[in-house]
C-alpha cells in the first residue's frame, strides 16, 4: 500500500475533530489568545517608548535603547523564553507565582502561572524590539513639516506628537502591526517548552497521553488556522477604518463578482442638473486644473 493510503488508514479524523472542543484545548485557545494579545500590546508600547528613547537628547538613553534592540533581535526568542523561566527562582518568584488561585477559581486546570508570566515577559520584550523598528518607520514617514506647523502654532513637541504626528503615523503602522499579531498568535506556541498549557501544550498533553499525537496536532492546527483567519478579517476591517489600505476607488463600486475578479467599470456619469446647467449653484466651479485627485 502506498504511504499516503496507509497514513490515511491510520489517521483518525474522529479523534482530531472531537478533540476540538475538549476542555483543555479550549482553555489552551484562551491562553494562546491572551498571551498573544497582551504580549503584542506590551510590545507595541515598548516599541513606542524605545522610539522616544532613541531620540532622546540624553545620550545614555539612546545607548540603552540601541543595546536593548540589538540584544532582543540578536538572540532567539526560544532562548529568551527559556532564560526568563529559569531565572524565576533567582528572582524569588517561583513559589509565589506557581499556582495563583485566581485562575483555578475561574475554572482553569493545570495552570502554572509562573511559566506563563515568564513566557509573557519574554514575548513582550522580544516583540518590543521588533515593534521599535515598525514604529520608527511609521513615525519617520510623516513629513517633518507637520511637526513644524504644529510648533509654529505654539504646540509643544508632546502636543505635536500626540495630536498631529502619531495619529497620522498610526495609519502607516497598522498594517505591519496586524502582520506582527498574526505572527504572535503562532509564536506563542513556543511557551510549550516551559510547560505552559497553551493550545500546543494542551494538544501535546492529550495527544501524548492517548498515543494520538498526530490527530491532536491537527486539532491544534485547525484552531491556529481559525484564529489567524479570523484575525485576517479583523485586520482588514481595522485597516479600512484607519484608511490604511490603499484601495483603488474603482474597485469599490460594482457587484461582488466584479470586485472579487478585479473588474473595474467606468465611473458613473454625474447626475444631470436641472435646466441643463453645467455647475451646481452656490458651489465654486472647479478650477481650471480640474478636480484634485
Amino acid at each position: 500500500m502506498n504511504p499516503i493510503a496507509s497514513f490515511l488508514k491510520y489517521f483518525n479524523w474522529h479523534i482530531a475533530v472531537n478533540s476540538l472542543f475538549a476542555r483543555l484545548i479550549l482553555q489552551g485557545v484562551i491562553i494562546t489568545i491572551s498571551l498573544a494579545v497582551v504580549s503584542q500590546l506590551a510590545g507595541t508600547l515598548i516599541g513606542l517608548a524605545l522610539y522616544f528613547l532613541r531620540r532622546s537628547r540624553f545620550v545614555p538613553f539612546r545607548w540603552l535603547a540601541e543595546a536593548y534592540i540589538w540584544f532582543f533581535r540578536g538572540t532567539p526568542l526560544l532562548v529568551q523564553i527559556l532564560f526568563a523561566y529559569n531565572a524565576l527562582p533567582y528572582l524569588g518568584l517561583s513559589n509565589p507565582l506557581r499556582n495563583l488561585d485566581i485562575f483555578t477559581q475561574l475554572g482553569f486546570v493545570s495552570i502554572y502561572t509562573d511559566a506563563m508570566l515568564a513566557g509573557l515577559v519574554a514575548l513582550s520584550l522580544n516583540e518590543g524590539a521588533y515593534m521599535a523598528e515598525i514604529v520608527r518607520a511609521g513615525i519617520d514617514s510623516i513629513d517633518i513639516g507637520q511637526m513644524e506647523a504644529a510648533k509654529s502654532l505654539g504646540m509643544t513637541y508632546a502636543q505635536g506628537m500626540r495630536r498631529i504626528v502619531l495619529p497620522q503615523a498610526m495609519r502607516v503602522i497598522i498594517p505591519p502591526l496586524g502582520n506582527e499579531f498574526n505572527n504572535m498568535l503562532k509564536t506563542t506556541s513556543l511557551v510549550y517548552v516551559i510547560g505552559v498549557y497553551d493550545l500546543l501544550g494542551a494538544a501535546k498533553a492529550i495527544g501524548d497521553f492517548s498515543f494520538r499525537t498526530l490527530e491532536l496536532l491537527v486539532t491544534a492546527s485547525i484552531w491556529y488556522l481559525a484564529m489567524t483567519t479570523v484575525w485576517g478579517f479583523v485586520q482588514a476591517y481595522i485597516e479600512r477604518k484607519f484608511n490604511a489600505a490603499n484601495i483603488d476607488p474603482a474597485l469599490r463600486e460594482g457587484s461582488w463578482w466584479r470586485r472579487m475578479l478585479g473588474i473595474r467599470g467606468r465611473p458613473a456619469p454625474a447626475p444631470a442638473l436641472a435646466g441643463g446647467a453645467l455647475f451646481a449653484p452656490g458651489v465654486e466651479p472647479p478650477s481650471i486644473q480640474g478636480d484634485r485627485r
Partner: protein, 269 residues
C-alpha cells in the same frame, strides 16, 4: 539724565520696541555659514518683503524668527522679548524652556511653502486645533472662530473637506486661516505662493494683501515682485547670507543701487 533700573529698562524697551528686532543674526549649517550677521527691524503694522536668490538665507532667516532654526550668533527680539533664549545675569544666553518658546511661537503665525496642513483633519478642524490645544479655547468658540476665518479666506463651504481634496490655493488659504486662528501679532510667510500653479497664486496673494491692509505686521519671503512692489512697505534684498540692500519697494526694485541687486532683478523681472 534719569537712571532706570534693569527691570524698568526692559519695560521701556518692550513698550517702544519694534515688532521684530534682529541683531547680527548668524546661522551656520555644518560649517556652511548661511547667515552672516543679519540685522533688521520691523515696526508694528509694517509689511516687509524679503527677496533674493535661492541660498541667500532668506528662508533660514525667517525660520530663525520663530526659532524653528536655532541661531549661532546674535539676538532676535520679538515684540521686545528675546526669542528662544534666556539671558543669564552674566550676559550669557542659555536656551529657553520649551514652554516659553511655544508661548512666544503662539503669537507668531507662519505660513509654509508646502502648506503643511494636518492631513488627518478637515479644514475646519485644522483651524480649530491650535486654539483648543494651545489656548484651551472652548470647542464651541473655536469652531465659530474657525468658520469665521474660513469665511474670511473665502472657503466656508470647504469646512468639512480634507486637505487632500483641496487645490493648492485652497490649502494655502486654509493654512493662513489656521495661522490667524491663534490671533498672532506677527505673520511670517515663507514663499507662500512658490508651490502654487500660476492661476492659483492670485487668490492667496489677495488674502495676504487683505491682511496687510488690516494692519498685520508681516514678514514675507517671496518671489512675487508685483506683490512686493504693491503691498510691502519695505523690501530687503538678501544674498549670500547678508542684507545687500533695503528700502522702499520703489527704491529697491525700481532703482537698485547695488550691483548684486541689479543682477538678481534683471533675471527675475
Amino acid at each position: 539724565m534719569a537712571v532706570y533700573s534693569q527691570a524698568s529698562q526692559a519695560q521701556v524697551y518692550k513698550a517702544t520696541a519694534p515688532m521684530v528686532d534682529a541683531q547680527n543674526v548668524e546661522k551656520t549649517f555644518h560649517r556652511n555659514p548661511v547667515l552672516r550677521g543679519v540685522s533688521m527691524q520691523v515696526r508694528k503694522g509694517e509689511v516687509v518683503a524679503i527677496i533674493g536668490p535661492s541660498g541667500s538665507g532668506k528662508t533660514t532667516f525667517l525660520r530663525c524668527l520663530n526659532h524653528l532654526e536655532k541661531i549661532n550668533g546674535g539676538r532676535i527680539y520679538i515684540d521686545g522679548e528675546l526669542m528662544g533664549y534666556r539671558e543669564q545675569p552674566d550676559g550669557r544666553l542659555v536656551e529657553d524652556s520649551e514652554s516659553n518658546i511655544a508661548r512666544m511661537r503662539a503669537q507668531i503665525g507662519m505660513v509654509f511653502q508646502r502648506f503643511n496642513l494636518f492631513a488627518h483633519l478637515t479644514a475646519l478642524q485644522n483651524v480649530m486645533e491650535a486654539p483648543i490645544q494651545v489656548k484651551h479655547m472652548p470647542r464651541q468658540m473655536a469652531e465659530e472662530q474657525a468658520r469665521e476665518l474660513l469665511r474670511k479666506v473665502g472657503l466656508e463651504y470647504k469646512a468639512d473637506a480634507y486637505p487632500s481634496r483641496l487645490s493648492g490655493g485652497q490649502q494655502q488659504r486654509v493654512a493662513i486661516a489656521r495661522a490667524l486662528a491663534m490671533d498672532p501679532k506677527l505673520m511670517l510667510f515663507d514663499e507662500a505662493t512658490s508651490a502654487l500653479d500660476p492661476e492659483l497664486v492670485g487668490e492667496v496673494l489677495k488674502v495676504m494683501r487683505q491682511l496687510a491692509e488690516e494692519g498685520m505686521t508681516m514678514v514675507v519671503v517671496t518671489h512675487e515682485m508685483g506683490f512686493a512692489r504693491e503691498v510691502a512697505d519695505r523690501v530687503i534684498f538678501m544674498d549670500g547670507g547678508y542684507i545687500v540692500e533695503q528700502g522702499s519697494p520703489d527704491q529697491v526694485i525700481n532703482h537698485p543701487t547695488q550691483e548684486r541687486t541689479q543682477n538678481f532683478l534683471r533675471k527675475v523681472l
